[in-house]
């Protein structure tokens, strides 16, 4: 069964880059464009991993993460946060919320996959016979 990854970001560009990073792997991508939609998608889809942006309209990533960790059914889902802010305080704040890892933008796709690979097992897609 494919690994299910939920990408929560208000930027379509970032969701596209995240999706492209996972393309070589046996992953099913699910997308949401704010924390509110992200929580609903997490409850509905039960993803194996959430890639979560920090700054988003309607509900930001920090609020979504806090709600996720308060929910018995969802709190075990590992979360990797994407943030444009690498300041010490910001990183400490994110770490305290219970994220498994974080990645500072700008990032390369292989950096994301490397971080994800430390949290969940990724399987390369089987080659299609010619």
């Amino acid at each position: 069964m494919a690994t299910k990854v939920l990408s929560v970001d208000d930027s379509r560009t970032i969701r596209l880059i995240v999706g492209r990073a996972f393309k070589p792997y046996d992953c099913e991508m699910v997308e949401a464009c704010n924390g509110e939609e992200g929580l609903a998608a997490a409850a509905r889809e039960k993803p194996d991993l959430i890639i979560l942006d920090v700054t988003m309209p309607i509900m930001d990533g920090v609020t979504m993460l806090t709600r996720l960790k308060e929910d018995e059914a969802l709190k075990a889902i590992p979360v990797i946060m994407l943030t444009a802010e690498s300041g010490r305080e910001n990183v400490l704040h994110i770490a305290k919320l219970g994220v498994r890892d974080y990645l500072v933008k700008p990032f390369k796709e292989d950096q994301l996959i490397e971080k994800v690979g430390r949290v969940i097992s990724l399987q390369k897609k089987a080659a299609v016979p010619a």
């Binding site: 208000d10 930027s11 560009t13 444009a84 300041g87 910001n90 933008k105």
Partner: protein, 147 residues
Amino acid sequence: MTRHLVDVFETMVSMQASLQPMADIPLFESRVTGSVGFAGANVTGAVYLHMSAPFATTFAAAMLGLKPAEISDDNEVNDVIGEAANMVTGGLKSWLCDAGTDCAMSTPAIIRGKSFSIEPAPEVEREWLVFECDKNFIVVEIHIKLN
């Protein structure tokens, strides 16, 4: 800030941007500007990332893995330029945060048009950084007020 913009271009689109010596601010015939505000107890301001509309399309195409001709919708360009402005502002916010001046960032906004200027509010300092990338100019305009 300079290093951060160079990183954004290098990491996200494999383009080399270099800081230009202080010169006249380039005029763009048609311009796309991404802006992100920041505000905290001791600081307020905004970062504006300006580039010509044709170069904004080239930049967006590179970020999305497309050819410029395949970009048919301004919204695709707007989203990319907004995200780039977000990343550049994130660098400034991190620096402010590490200097003990924490603040929060807004989501990006886009301005498109010809012959417009952005005037700072009273008591707001304005800085310009001009970069060149593949014979195109990118201007970072920073408005900042320390309380």
